[in-house]
Point group: C2
Chain length 275, copies 2
């Protein structure tokens, strides 16, 4: 398949980055040698000021955005908190995010929720916290834009096309992909995007979040808490994910394959101008 | 595709169980109504004796095996610990696992590692803990068996075939599938299997673990710690997963599609008698 990078993409995956994939030799079902590229997976420990928060497994690109976005999406760095510095120490695989005022997240470490697709997932505090009273902007979504986005994202050079076994997410506005991140963890990719949005001051109101991952409850909640009114995936749904999306007014499109998809939430905001 | 359940399967998914999927109505890309079945996703809180350990998101079947297997795979219930009871309270979505002697897992709650594919993953203690000095049995693996297994598993009635957006795992011996579990979280499925193995006293030495999930570091580590000498997936690899597998002598087969696959670890234990 011929690949091409959309001109509107301000951040794109870099499949040519030698730090992100490794050439490995194996054998096929007949015992014949096979050479393939495999994505890297390395630990990154995230600190908030003096406190060690978590160690994530990541391919390793954009560590500052991943760390900031993780803390923002976990509610540990709030909208009002002033970030005074983000220091990445490649020697020890760590990122320190510094805020002007120490944040009060200790209480959030009390409970653990293991979330779908996880080895063991922890959501600090109640997964549903912050959803009460949340109202997303009622942004219209054109089918023609979705179909253009799906084609454009699938043709963009990526680690997925290069090595597979990786998840991707792309922030889009109308028919235009704006920022595309990949990682071994689908939530890492979304967290990198959240860190990029916070750093660049990108507003969520008129955006669409595309993910290769399944539309589980925590992906729906994360998208809603980010304030993005539309979530699109090539993968499928879970019933609770759909239920939450309908509650908070998030438009959810799944099973996006070529020009085809299924919309299970927010169809009243969709404009049917597609193929 | 015509489905059939292998006679050797002692535990199989139950796509007919009305608690595991929900019928939802949506629309397609043309705005035409679409009715589809979507997998459920609900919280299950796991207690070890008096202590709340974690809340996992699960489809909801086999809660006792999931709870026990989670605790076993986290090293919170060790080989020597006598389990005196497992009580599931469907009213409050909780399972209490009781042991004769209180286990000392508090220290393991100190550090958190978010693992690939996670919202936020926590591995209690060092992910690599327990791998030092681990030697897996050098069990031979026949290509013909793998090809039969792949076909048999893909044709077994499952929630994946019914609703999609779900992961599966199957414990196998030679050409025979023995126990097949599914869940929204790929690790939940493996944990249910671990709980079943512990309950039934099933030994790992001559088994193969089949998973639909990617062969990331934590999946490789989990399989190795379970003592299963071979790990097979229809999905791809990460470099660190392969590195760990080679270190501990775990045979790893990925990208299994029909009769085709790639072996990146343990090829010296594979018998090339396939198609």
């Amino acid at each position: 398949m011929s690949t091409t990078t959309p001109s509107t993409l301000r951040v794109t995956p870099d499949p040519a980055d030698p730090r992100l994939t490794r050439a490995l030799r194996g054998v096929d079902q007949a015992g014949a040698p096979v050479d393939l590229r495999v994505v890297e997976e390395r630990p990154l420990t995230i600190y908030l000021n003096a406190r060690e928060i978590v160690t994530v497994m990541t391919i390793g690109d954009h560590p500052e955005w991943l760390a900031l976005g993780f803390l923002v999406n976990q509610g540990m760095v709030r909208a009002g908190d002033r970030v005074t510095g983000i220091d990445h120490d490649a020697e020890v695989d760590a990122v320190i995010v510094r805020t002007a005022v120490e944040t009060d997240h200790e209480a959030r470490l009390a409970r653990a929720t293991r979330t779908s697709g996880c080895a063991v997932g922890t959501v600090f505090g109640d997964m549903m916290e912050g959803l009460e009273g949340l109202t997303l902007p009622s942004t219209a979504l054109k089918v023609s834009d979705l179909q253009r986005l799906s084609a454009a994202i699938n043709r963009t050079p990526s680690l997925y096309l290069e090595a597979g076994a990786i998840h991707g997410t792309c922030l889009c506005r109308g028919p235009d992909p704006l920022a595309y991140f990949e990682d071994v963890g689908r939530h890492n990719a979304v967290d990198k995007l959240a860190g990029w949005m916070r750093t660049t001051g990108t507003q969520p109101d008129d955006k669409t979040l595309y993910t290769t991952g399944r539309l589980t409850s925590e992906m729906v909640i994360k998208c809603a808490l980010m304030g993005i009114p539309a979530l699109v995936s090539r993968s499928g749904f879970t019933a609770w994910g759909v239920e939450i999306a309908r509650q908070v007014g998030l438009t959810v499109i799944g099973r996006m394959k070529g020009a085809r998809f299924v919309c299970l939430s927010g169809e009243e905001r969709v404009i049917w101008d597609g193929e």
